[in-house]
Symmetry: C2
Subunit: 163 residues, 2 copies
Amino acid sequence: MELNKEITDSAAQLGAILTNKGLTITTVESCTGGGVSYALTDTPGSSNYIDRCFVTYSNVAKQQLVGVSEQTLQQFGAVSEQAVREMVVGAQRAANAEVAVAISGIAGPSGGSAEKPVGTVWFAFAFKDNVQVEQCVFLGDRAKVRVQAIDFSLKALLQLVNS
Amino acid sequence: MELNKEITDSAAQLGAILTNKGLTITTVESCTGGGVSYALTDTPGSSNYIDRCFVTYSNVAKQQLVGVSEQTLQQFGAVSEQAVREMVVGAQRAANAEVAVAISGIAGPSGGSAEKPVGTVWFAFAFKDNVQVEQCVFLGDRAKVRVQAIDFSLKALLQLVNS
């Protein structure tokens, strides 16, 4: 369960910026299952900018822990722009953090559809009031989809806090 | 960020047992920062037995998310038998899960003391009303301490659900 160097380097760079700017971060993860928080806490001193993180695997957890609305989940599904937008804002609020990332996707091998194939991952990144969303369709097996999603998250967060 | 095979194998074995027995599991992690939930969700179909998991990095998060008492944290510290006992029972309740693990330790490189050296990790494992605690002092750097704690957790959970 070693973290690859690219991921730990991104986490460390992000941690240095958060520390310098006095910012805190949180995560709310579905398909990555805590991989981003695991990467972020690899960096010594990460307790300076992390208070808590959430793994919301079920729809009910997304509603109860970070306040995603039932209507959004019913209308658009958990793997959607609307869901990750609500997740990221809810996580920011629940953790009282300036920076947040929300991740919801279909890591496979099952669960894919024509509209949302396996590898589809929605991300939302928040820095104070600025919320950005991205959708990726990653190739590879379950493990590879998850690692790519973690790597992508950290790089996007780096860009966001540097902007 | 590949999971090592020993860890993914343990997670898959545990998942098969949970599925067969119709049990659900949750985690509340401090020093491992989501690594156990990341490992558990590596297994396809893990949404059958995982609803939510918690990363409670700060003392306040331990109080707010899984109901650890302020008195326990003040009297014994977050890295203590008492704290992980309260964490695991609180996580079971918050996630409505039969099986749970709580992990709190000092991954280093700083934060150690004569009484609680770097590498000290307290674990609590719950299976319904049965709660067991363990303390380990792992050798190695921060990454190695965390990986050993994840590995140890999964193996102890396997024993517990097989008992």
